[in-house]
Symmetry: C2
Subunit: 189 residues, 2 copies
DNA sequence: GGAGTATTGTACCGATTGGTACAATGTGTC
DNA sequence: GACACATTGTACCAATCGGTACAATACTCC
């Protein structure tokens, strides 16, 4: 019996890709087992709560990544524009310039939203809030900053949808470029 | 044996709601049967190709609705701004001010995109193209109009995602209001 | 090396999946 | 009423679903 001993981060990343590509319903335990190289025995050992616990852990994992790589820079950068620039760079990297889709956004659209409503609302809510605060610090009026933040996060989600629908990565790149300009950043980082 | 004789439009609308709420994978024949009041015998009589043919017909049905109620006004209105206003009103109505989600956008995100790639690309492509042409007619430069159209359609998709994630319909209303203003329309229709 | 725990493969479960077959019944037409 | 065709309910199929049970193996620490 070989011992793979996948670290939890790597494991969650692999499971996350399955959910991302197939959705919550479409991600069968067979697919997850295939992607991770683990049988049901192992999967239910690490996630006694089954598929739902896996999804919950994956969402929390993504939430943590955004906390560290997107929200923290937005909150802690001395120069708010630099923090916003960091956000765009991390976002472009995370979604692989449009090749990848937002798992949490996809979950928000169908049935599975009801299962993970709190985590989903938290993810988008924090993104909008932290971006809005950075925009306030960069000189925007609070109400205007709130709308601009909401508009930006929605535009990113919409661009991911449209890029995948059109099968054209440039859709996503163009959207990020427009958003950068509107938020007061130089055209390229 | 009672005879319901649902007209095809009503039938496709009912099936469409199931796909919209549960996604392609999640929409089981049991759910579809329950929603339509039809057994498998009837469903496979009307759609010999099974679930895939049902989904294809539903997407085509939606495509047709948008052709009549969104794209045609964009193309045929003498006043392009009136056509664009018509588009926003129809869009707000169709998505029930954010209560409803875009089935085709949801399909674009997961596995099912590969099954329906042509129809999905067609839907979004026509929307962007027709909006861009109306924007050109209203005075925008062609390249600028293309970007603005793409941005608008993406913003609508993103707003639907965000509204459902936040469980807050105002997110969608605010997005539509901003888009109307940016495209040169009066604040309320 | 032995004890205790972590991990794993396998067999199995009932329920549900999409799909097929087909006879029975409804409906419209002459 | 008789015929043709449209529609439907039911029974059935193999495959897969998520999940459980458990014994066998790996690993860790003494």
């Amino acid at each position: 019996m070989r011992r793979i001993a996948p670290d939890r981060d790597g494991l969650l990343a692999m499971i996350g890709e399955v959910f991302r590509e197939h959705g919550y319903e479409g991600a069968s335990l067979a697919l997850i087992g295939e992607a991770t190289g683990l049988g049901k025995g192992s999967l239910y050992h690490f996630f006694p709560g089954g598929k739902e616990e896996m999804a919950r852990a994956v969402i929390a994992h993504i939430n943590g990544w955004f906390e560290d790589n997107v929200f923290a820079p937005l909150r802690d950068s001395v120069d708010p524009l630099a923090g916003i620039g960091h956000m765009f760079a991390a976002t472009d990297g995370y979604f692989r310039s449009g090749r990848r889709v937002c798992l949490i956004g996809a979950f928000a659209l169908d049935d599975s939203r009801d299962l993970f409503a709190d985590q989903i609302r938290d993810y988008f809510g924090r993104w909008v809030t932290h971006l809005a605060e950075a925009l306030v610090r960069s000189g925007h009026r609070p109400d205007e900053a709130g709308e601009l933040a909401e508009e930006t996060v929605a535009a990113i989600q919409g661009a991911l949808t449209l890029a995948r629908a059109a099968n054209d990565l440039d859709v996503f790149s163009r959207a990020l470029r427009r958003l950068r300009r509107r938020l007061g950043l130089p055209a390229n980082i």
